[in-house]
Amino acid sequence: MKKPLLTGALAAVLLGGTALSPALAQDAKKGGAMVVTYKDDVSTLDPAIGYDWQNWSMIKALFDGLMDYEPGTTTLKTDLAESYEMSPDGMAYTFKLRPGVKFHNGRELTAEDIKYSIERTVNPATQSPGQGFFGSIKGFEEASKADGRLSGITVVDPRTVRIELSRPDATFLHVMAINFAFAVPKEAVEKHGADFGKNPVGTGAFKLAEWTLGQRVVFERNPDYFDPSLPKLDRITFEIGQDPTVALLRLERGEVDILGDGIPPARFLDVRGKPENKDLIVEGGQLHTGYVAMNTTMKPFDDKRVRQAVNMAINKDRVVRIINGRAVPASQPLPPSMPGYAKEYKGYAHDPARAKALLAEAGHPNGFETEILANNTDPNPRIVQAIQQDLAAVGIRANVKTLAQANVISAGGSKEGAPMIWSGGMAWIADFPDPSNFYGPILGCAGATEGGWNWSWYCNKDLDAKAAAADAMVDPAKREERLAQWREVYLQVMEDAPWAPVFNEQRFTMHSARIAGPDAVFVDPVHIPVNYEHVWAKDAQ
């Protein structure tokens, strides 16, 4: 079992510099096909709407945005933009578009399309879950209530677009790299209307070849893609409705190439134990943290000492053991692969004696009774029962309630909904690899509203101010200073302890022997399960 230190090192390798070693990139052949299995239906491939971990990367293969990430890393690079310029005060960005980019319907991309696509996401009629990400663009307040037209976006000429912000935003380039900013052609959207999600037309390396509802989705190579070396594969077939256990059986028989839902927990140990699978399983970090959120507005969790006691009561190593080592114990809100992670901070050690002492100090010498909610998909019921036992050992008698995901989320978003929630299976995986993404919706005051995702209802105005200041540091030279500021924010969060971070999930991607690529693209932090454009087939002709 890999120790956290080793994994951290692996993550560091992934982050630093380019992940594609020149030699491997040359070995990559073009051509061939791949089969990926999923259990759930693909909901939509509309970049303005798709927001689940399944379609997120599929959309990335069909569409492009102004910015993207170096494959296998969290480093930003230009994509549809050939170059960009930021004004000295950080309030305006000018992007020059790459020439000769074509949509799948043949039309060439212009700056108008960029403006249209972003405005479409902001338009309330689209009902896009990504609307809020563009809050820093000038004119957002009015546009988000009216028709999406942003005064802050100007088409300077067919290849230049200028975006003005209402405040300096250090995450802006990340926002230009997420799916909600991807370019869509107006005529295709108007032609299909609400069904654009089932008839996607983008500029990406792949285009949609077939969609048989409930059975399969097929992508095929876009021959006019602006980067002629991509994609490597000719064809990807996504098979839907496949149970993960059966998918694994089929992979072992050579019928399936990638397990979209990952290695089923039931077979994890035995599959990893087989020597022939050594090269087929790639392990990597994820921008994920699993935590227990405590409702700071509900007694007795309004007392910081009680919350800290909970942190000390949970035996994280034991929990990780129960899930067969598929995670690393977490000490803080940010995961190890996130910039801004505090490497030396150890968090709260497992100390039941101290926890009991703290509880007694807070007025609960005999503990108290409470409730903890969790999602009902495996392994979360197990995890929450393990946590339950740990809490009972210090006197906190927590009744477990496992519900369908939508119900837990709804309870978390209501003030009297739940005293404690185990976040597994629901939150939090980063939308983009920047520390601010772990703060705003889930720890910031803005998220502590009815229906919000700040399930601990934690609202620290000082920290909010600090966070905003950090996000205003747009000068690339100040990057380290900004990260240090974020680090401070999170350390303060740990001091206040609205959460008890438990573990960061590791990713294990299993692929068949005929699919190859640099390890990094199999555990690409931004693409799940793999970076579709960069994997290649050994048996391509």
Binding site: D41, S43, T44, P124, Q127, P129, G214, Q242, Q405, A406
Partner: protein, 306 residues
């Protein structure tokens, strides 16, 4: 006959109306706010409110229901909140697979159940009878997931006689139908057996025997016809049940049926889809029971349709 059918159709419409009302009311009780679900994690209150208005969720319950019925009458089942696709096309795309599996399963159930049940009844009290009984209980107690994976592993992975799940040809249908057939066969065999035993004990059978008719003829002609009646009712029930309940088998074998759609919709509280599949299931339940009632007089002519 015409009167009978007319009354049944009228009853069916009332039932469908009742089902939509109950489902609508239940969905209202489930505390998941669709506007928030659609709006996503980073949405502002204004966005959520705007979505709520667009979907008509801020209207009073009875008005929402009325609108739904009106659209339904025009053939519009609405759009899935999660997928944004039309519910009707989601259901329609999965209907043929579901019907095929239903047919295959019923055939398997009958083959296994009738054969085992009749044999057990005729050899009542002997080893065969006990063996069939134990087998039936095993068939009913065994979790479908396990049965399915076992069949898949032995016959598809190891022996390679069938494809490992999937949809499209007859050989894709065999294993999933068999899995369902084992469970159903357990029920059918017990029912067939007990029914046959009861019939075989009746006086008119003794009379036939006394008159000299051989055992084969007795069983096949007289007893079977009478014993099969409860099974007719069960087939009618199965038609309705298979429309909603086969999610495990569908998932193990990658069969694109309605069960998976239903289960996903319930977990995600995707209201339009839940309404749609519940309605579809209700239609088949009514049809299935109607069919059983129509078939009954063929089996036992004394039954009159009323």
């Amino acid at each position: 006959m015409a009167g009978f059918l007319a009354r049944r159709v009228g009853g069916a419409l009332l039932i469908l109306l009742g089902v939509t009302a109950i489902t609508f009311a239940l969905l209202f009780l489930v505390p998941a706010d669709p506007a928030r679900q659609i709006a996503g994690r980073s949405a502002s209150a204004a966005t959520v409110e705007s979505i709520r208005q667009q979907l008509g969720l801020n209207l009073p319950l009875w008005e929402q229901y009325g609108r739904y019925l009106l659209r339904l009458a025009g053939g519009d089942m609405g759009r899935s909140y999660i997928q944004r696709t039309e519910v009707a096309s989601l259901i329609w795309s999965r209907l043929p697979a579901t019907l095929l599996l239903m047919l295959g399963a019923i055939v398997c159930e009958l083959l296994i159940g009738l054969t085992a049940g009749v044999v057990a009844a005729v050899r009542r009290g002997r080893a065969v009878d006990n063996a069939v009984m134990v087998a039936s209980f095993i068939g009913v107690s065994a979790p479908q997931f396990v049965v399915g994976i076992l069949l898949l592993y032995v016959f598809a992975v190891q022996l390679g006689w069938f494809p490992i799940g999937g949809y499209g040809t007859f050989s894709h249908l065999v294993l999933p139908a068999l899995t369902l057939g084992i469970l159903g066969g357990g029920w059918y065999s017990r029912m067939a057996r007990s029914s046959m035993v009861d019939v075989l004990r009746q006086d008119y059978i003794r009379t036939a025997r006394a008159k000299g008719a051989g055992p084969g003829r007795i069983v096949m002609v007289h007893a079977l016809r009478n014993a099969v009646l409860p099974l007719i009712a069960m087939i009618g029930l199965d038609i309705g049940l298979f429309m909603s309940g086969a999610v495990v088998v569908e998932s193990v074998f990658g069969w694109p049926g309605i069960g998976q759609l239903t289960w996903q919709a319930i977990q995600q509280v995707d209201i339009p889809v839940i309404m749609g599949v519940t309605l579809t299931a209700a239609v088949f339940i009514v049809l299935g029971n109607l069919l059983a009632d129509l078939m009954a007089p063929f089996v036992d002519p004394r039954i009159r349709l009323r």
